[in-house]
């Protein structure tokens, strides 16, 4: 009975893999495997650099990390001093510019949160999250 149970469970587990693979291929461009942000809202360092003057870089890391070093020209905008820094950011923002938000690394959430709040609260379009964050920027510097 035990071997029958295991055999049946394995057959079911294997059967479920077939539609899973088909669906994963179908949804390939709709979900990022690296980050919860949809692929369309992510940008690589190379892509963001290519936007040059058409991009505003936003540093979502804490103030002390921003003070230590940051992407040249980036503006600080973290959730600790959101209201104060948002006003400063909106002063520099213009509708034709793309906003590139980054935090420390691939695993951090701050850039996603800040990007989300910029879209929802400030009603901004063209807000992107930098893949790999500050660490990736340093690698490709």
């Amino acid at each position: 009975m035990k071997s029958s149970l295991v055999r049946q469970a394995l057959v079911l587990a294997a059967l479920a893999f077939v539609p899973t693979l088909v669906q994963a291929i179908y949804f390939g461009d709709k979900v990022s495997w690296r980050s919860p942000v949809p692929a369309s809202e992510m940008v690589t360092v190379t892509q963001a650099r290519a936007w040059d003057k058409n991009a505003i870089w936003v540093d979502a890391r804490p103030d002390n990390e921003f003070a230590r070093d940051h992407v040249p020209g980036a503006l600080p905008l973290n959730e600790d001093r959101w209201n104060e820094l948002l006003a400063q950011f909106l002063g520099a923002w213009s509708p034709e510019k793309k906003v590139v938000v980054y935090c420390g690394s691939e695993g951090c959430n701050a850039s996603r949160e800040v990007a989300h709040r910029l879209r929802k609260e400030a009603q901004l379009a063209n807000v992107f999250v930098l893949e790999g964050g500050w660490e990736e920027w340093l690698k490709e510097k």
Partner: protein, 156 residues
Amino acid sequence: MNDTSNIKHQTSNILHFLWQIVDVIVGGIFIYAGAIKVLDPVQFANDIDNYKILPWTISVGLAFYLPWLEIFCGLALIVRRLYFGGLSILTALVAVFLAATIAAKIRGLDITCGCFGHVSQNWNFPAHLAIDLAILAALLALSFRVVSGNRLQDAV
């Protein structure tokens, strides 16, 4: 003597029919829950990620895989093929999910389980717990019935 035997036989048939209804209801619940999540795997991946237990990549993989597993196991209960395998997988899934939900609550996480798509998004924690415990109880009752040998013949 014959009357007693007939009554026993009829009672057994009625019980068998009632258990079949439980199979269909429980199987149907998992097919419904799986189908809703198949339609929006990205949302389900976010729901899994909200538990803050697994890396995002694994959450995405599970968001694609688990709904189909639920559907196949639900079908197994209804059509009574690979029955015990389906029952065991579903019992394990619900037990793991219950443990994760309780752990998330203890850690103070504000989670949406997304188990039944938008229908379950506004359920509070006690409602989640009550429904999951009821499903787990039904699965355990079905498992106990198989283990006790009453339907071993059907199950294999």
